[in-house]
Every structure is written in C-alpha cells, then in structure tokens.
C-alpha cells in the first residue's frame, strides 16, 4: 500500500491502528456523555469535549449502529442526540407517571394545530377547530413545556404566535418538525393553509425557530402578563 503513488493519504500500519484507537476512545467519550445525560445533547456540545477535528457525525453513526436493536437506542431528537429505551419495549416500561397528564382531546388537538401550523395565533387555532379555545387549554400546554410563545403576528392587535419547543420534539421522539407524521401529505393537500373559510386565503410561511416575516419578537416584559384579552366561554 505504501508503494502506491496516490494523491490521498492512506493510513496504514501503526498509523491506521492509532487512528482506530483514537476513534474508539472518542466513541467511548460520546457514549459516556450521551448516556450520562437525561437531556439530548447537540453535536456542538459533544465536539467541545472531544479532541478538535473529531468527526462527531461519524462517531454518532457508529454509536447508533452499535446500539441498533438493543434495549437502549440512540435517537435523534430535536436536532440533538439522546439515548432512550427502545420503543418496542414500551409494553414493559410503561409507567403511569402522574405528571404526564392525559391530555384532553381539545388540548391534544390544539397541540397538533400548534405543531403543524406554527407559528399560529389563538384566533387561527380557533378558526381551525371551529370553537373558541378556553384559556385553560393553552395554559395546560404551556405548562407541559411543549409549546411556547414565539412572537407576535404583525397584524392588527399584534396577537401572540405559538410554536412548539424542543421538549415537544423530545417527548414525541421527533428529530425535527419536518418529521411530524403526515406533514408532507397535509402540506401537499393544502390542508395546512390557514384561510378563513368565508374569507380570502392567507399564505402561510414555513416555520422554523426564527421569526417569520410577519412575526415580531415578543416584548419580554409582556411575556408574563395577560397578553391577550380573553373571552372565556
């Protein structure tokens, strides 16, 4: 191999061995860090604890392969990485955790609307559901930590817009919002456009964490005050 006059550097002999060792050591570090943490860790955080130049994505790929089919799996959640118990063992693991309140149907629906339509205002949620949303529903969802106030729609009244959080993605085991089940089909069928049923349709920009063109940042001081005048039913 050494005789070959190629442009690329081909590791061989002791060098290759040392590289394999380095890789092994780095994988152990990634494994230990991810295993120790309850929260998903970003590749940036992992890179910080590794020698510079470590190929974090490759290490994660290898680690994920190592754990494939095991009782614990390496999952991509919320753009980060986390070990989680294997989903197919849920029948054994299932715990009735009290904090994990059973979401009411309105709450679940509202959550789905926020997830699929974000950024979305309360008025838009109500329009989709065809009923006014009780303040409690949004409160419950905010309390779960799955939704958050994103900003304000740049329309009269400057209503607050809602979106989902990383905890939402983590809870539902989603790597990104794009992985929401059936998202593409819904989009393709035009079912995610928010348009007044009796009025002109409104174009809907795609949602990331950045504010969209028609969103303003939240006024921080208003975050914890009663922002929207609510009409309870």
């Amino acid at each position: 191999m050494a005789e070959r006059a190629t442009a690329e550097i081909v590791p061989f002999g002791p060098l290759a061995e040392r590289e394999a060792e380095d890789r092994q050591r780095q994988m152990r570090i990634v494994e230990a860090l991810l295993f120790a943490a309850a929260e998903p860790l970003g590749e940036d955080v992992l890179a910080e604890r590794l020698p510079s130049g470590a190929d974090v994505p490759a290490l994660i790929r290898d680690l994920q392969a190592t754990y494939a089919g095991r009782g614990v799996e390496l999952r991509h959640v919320a753009g980060k990485w986390a070990f989680r118990t294997a989903g197919d063992l849920s029948y054994l693991m299932r715990r009735e955790v009290e904090e994990l309140r059973r979401l009411s149907r309105p709450a679940l629906e509202t959550l789905a609307i926020i997830a699929y339509h974000q950024p979305v205002t309360r008025a838009e949620i109500e329009e989709i559901r065809g009923v006014s949303t009780s303040r409690g529903t949004v409160d419950v969802l905010l309390e779960t930590g799955w939704i958050r106030m994103r900003g304000r729609r740049r329309t009269p009244g400057r209503p607050v817009t809602y979106g989902t959080t990383e905890a939402f993605l983590d809870h539902f085991g989603l790597a990104a919002l794009a992985d929401l089940p059936g998202l593409e089909e819904l989009k393709g069928a035009g079912l995610l456009d928010i348009s007044g049923s009796l009025g002109p349709p409104l174009p809907r920009p795609p949602a990331g964490d950045e504010l969209t063109a028609d969103e303003d940042p939240l006024d921080e001081t208003l975050l914890f005050t009663d922002i929207e005048p609510e009409q309870e039913r």
Binding site: A36, A38, E109, L111, Y116, R129, V131, L180, L186, A189
Partner: protein
C-alpha cells in the same frame, strides 16, 4: 336521518333515545366541539371522501339536526345557530342561479371553503391521533433514569499584584510600628500646678463659687480641659483637708462650689 356520532360520545346510544329524551335524557351538545365538529361528524355519515361531500346535503342534515334539538327545547350555543343561519343562506344560494357578475365569492366558492375547513379539521384530528400514538418520552420510552450530572469543579485562581503585597506589608508595619512607638505628648496639669493656681485665689472667695468659674481662663482649650478639671479637683480636696477652703456639692455631678474657710468662720 342517520344519527351522527361524535368520536367523544355516542350521541344516540340506542334507538329508543327519542322516547327517553322527552323525559330525562339530556342531549349533550357539548359532546360536539362546536358546529364544525358537528358538521364533520355529519359529513362522515355521507360515507364519501370529504372532497366529494355534497355541501347542500350537509347543510340540510345540519339544519334538520338543529331543528330536532330545538324541538326538544334544549339550549343551543349561539355558534350553532350562527352556523345554521349561514348554512341556510348557503343552501339557498346553491339552489338559485348565480348573479351574472359580482365581486363577492360565488356559492360554489363558499361551499368549497366550507368543505376545505371540514377537511382541515379532520386532517388535524388525524394528525393529533398520530402524534398521540407515538412512543412518548416518560410513558413509552425513557431517558436515563439516573442522569450523571456534570459537576462544576471550581479552581480558584488567586489574584494579587506585587503592589497589593507590598502595600499590605507596609500597612501592617506602619500599624505595628506606630503602636509600639506611641508616646502621649499631651500637656498635663500637675496637682502642684493646680494647687498653686487655687492658692492664689484663696482669700478672695468669700461666697460659694463654682469651681469652674475659677478655672474658666484655663478651660478654653478642649485638649487640656480634662486634666485641668481633674487636677484642680484633686488640689481643692487637698486644700479642704488642710482647712484652707470649704467644698460643697448639692448632688452627684452637680457643680462643685468652694469658698474661703477663714472668712466663713
């Protein structure tokens, strides 16, 4: 009419419902989440793709259902009635020929918009169901139960400059040197001095006179006030013992008065 069913609740659980409804059974309109939910349930009874539902038929179903409920004299939320009014209007527009040119949306547009709304609600319901069916963290899948926290180990790094060090040393030396060298340089009235001054006055104080009056020329200086008072008092006691003057004090801390012993006799 086919009984619409809400996913939440079988509205008409058995065929005898109507009979029982008159007596005690209360229709739970709350079983439907608003008119749109009701419309979706009704549309499902058409058993066709939601894209191909007949809005006219749907409007008819809705209106007759509302009429039925109202016939039972049950309270209906205003939104159901608003929807009923709007559907009645839409139904009539769908039956009538469209006006030639009008800026307002056509009846078909309105019908399509309504269908779309119903489809959207159904779509989001399906999405919510899919979401809820996912393996959920803390219920189906679990994070590390005993996470090992990353402990912050603080390493103190001490800051001090040579200046800090030297000035600290100089200060403490200054303090200790000054303490050991301090010698009182105060002017002190000795008893002798006080006695000499008091003696000069003897023979001139026939009446009881406060001690301070005699000393007034010497009390102006605050630094020597104490020593003058103390020494003068001591000297006056001595003179009184020798029978040269008399002393009188009305009460503790009251002014001390003195006068010539000789004159008084």
């Amino acid at each position: 009419m086919t009984a619409p069913t809400s996913p939440q609740k079988e509205l008409w659980p058995d065929p005898e419902w109507e009979a029982r409804a008159e007596e005690s059974f209360v229709i739970d309109v709350e079983g439907f989440e608003g008119p749109l939910d009701l419309l979706l349930s009704l549309a499902r009874t058409q058993k066709v793709d939601l894209a191909r539902i007949s809005v006219a038929a749907l409007a008819e179903q809705y209106l007759s259902y509302i009429a039925q409920i109202r016939g039972l004299k049950l309270e209906l939320a205003a939104e159901y009635l608003v929807m009923a009014a709007w559907l009645a209007y839409l139904k009539s527009r769908l039956l009538l020929p469209e006006p030639a040119s009008d800026d307002s949306p056509s009846a078909e547009d309105l019908a399509e918009a309504l269908t779309q709304r119903i489809r959207k609600l159904e779509a989001i319901r399906a999405a919510a169901a899919k979401l809820a069916a996912r393996d959920r963290l803390g219920r189906d899948v679990f994070a590390r139960g005993a996470p090992e926290q990353i402990a912050a180990i603080t390493h103190p790094r001490y800051a001090a400059s040579l200046y800090d060090l030297l000035s600290a040393y100089a200060d403490q030396r200054k303090r200790t040197v000054q303490r050991s060298m301090r010698v009182g340089q105060r002017t002190v009235w000795s008893l002798g001095e006080a006695r000499a001054i008091l003696q000069k006055l003897i023979g001139r104080i026939a009446e009881w006179t406060p001690l301070e009056v005699f000393l007034s020329p010497y009390l102006a200086d605050a630094e020597t006030r104490k020593t003058v008072t103390a020494s003068a008092f001591g000297a006056s006691l001595e003179l009184a013992r020798e029978g040269k003057i008399e002393l009188r004090q009305a009460a503790p801390f009251a002014p001390i008065h003195l006068r010539d012993r000789v004159r008084a006799v």
